[in-house]
Symmetry: C2
Subunit: 276 residues, 2 copies
Amino acid sequence: MAGTNSERQLLREGPVIILVEPQMGENIGMVARAMANFGLAELRLINPRDGWPNDKAQAAASKADHVIEGTKVYETLEQAVADLNFVYATTARQRDGFKPVRSPVAAAETLRAKFRAGEGTGILFGRERWGLNNEEVALADEIVTFPVNPAFASLNIAQAVLLMSYEWMKSGMEDVSAVPFQAMSQTQSTKEQLFGLYDQLEEALEARNYFHPPAKKPKMVDNLRAVLSRRAFTEQEISVLRGVISSLDRFSRKYPRGSRPPVDAKEQSEDDSSAE
Amino acid sequence: MAGTNSERQLLREGPVIILVEPQMGENIGMVARAMANFGLAELRLINPRDGWPNDKAQAAASKADHVIEGTKVYETLEQAVADLNFVYATTARQRDGFKPVRSPVAAAETLRAKFRAGEGTGILFGRERWGLNNEEVALADEIVTFPVNPAFASLNIAQAVLLMSYEWMKSGMEDVSAVPFQAMSQTQSTKEQLFGLYDQLEEALEARNYFHPPAKKPKMVDNLRAVLSRRAFTEQEISVLRGVISSLDRFSRKYPRGSRPPVDAKEQSEDDSSAE
């Protein structure tokens, strides 16, 4: 499939992104890339200032060729939305009007519901310099606006498309905290494994007279165990720690404290990570 | 305050954004802008390729001068995170390791909780070409990754910063569906007002023999009322609609159907929007 070296399936669904009189080809390209990142594919342009196709757009799209190649150009916004059922207008500033104003999260949920119901949907983005005019906003069903820092509110058009595309993708996830890959799987240690660590460490410390004076030993043990028990170590981690303690407990230094190891030094502890 | 013409307070809080060996000044500038959009202010760079300060970064920052001016440069990542308590590493690909992997939503919630507890936090972003190496990831507490289209997963560094900054801002909002401004306030109509609309319209239609044959009138009335009742009209909308019906009902055409109004035509209905 064009625009990707991956064998994985390209997602091609979701709202049409509609840019009204975009000025910079670079921005159109970055919009295409942002769309591709989050599985959107259909881009429509109303009267792009520098015509279409546009080399700068192609270059900035960074391999989102399938979006660029499928881009359609229209003379009027009415034509561009004619086949759609539901359209959002993005705007950074308040409009006098009665259209509902939604956050990106709420808008994405609405778009997802309409997509699942088989409706054609779109999101309008205005010109780089001054956005959408009131007549253009009036052609939309609802307004979407971004929760930006009020003192620094100007979002670049590609950034605005990125955020809506991102929220669109999240709206299709059952769990927005889901991630595409996980840490390597580890098993939480049993208490017995943890107690084994306590025993080993406390015995090694006892042999060095760490618990001194003896009257304080119970409190010192409590404190030490508190440090270790808070960590919720896994089996693998307990094993690593026991290897470390073993090494410190059994072997004497090969080179003085604070100096660098000799180049050919092979630490004995490397063979000892499986603990005693 | 530098970097904005607004009198509103600049937000200056939240995680430090740390770019490891960034290459393009334009990207650094776009990162600064994205940060400013969502209320982040503290940017740190490890060995930026083209040195610092950087004119291209300044230009691309688009008035986020307070971020650019406050940017600090470090020689090593260890130095850049030395004063922080908790650090995320961003990465697009799976690492062999045991670090927890979080979504942007979950990571932002964690960062917000740590911020509220007074901890210093940061987010690491890697080089444009190949991200962070394993040793750099190892310096972080947890990993954050983005829910992108698997077939087109490469996020630009400024886009990645934008998404994390956006989720940071959202994590501070009580309601992620909140919006900074609302549609003009309207009052939902009472049933009496709706029934007034029914009566007016049905009377005007009856006078034109719309309900024909008479046996079908009850069903036709049902259908008509279903169309109107589904809309949940406000008081103001009922008033507009009654003005429209009034105009259609009372006045005859000034010019033929399908033709354009004469230039000096002033429609009588303009004075009639307050209904009968």
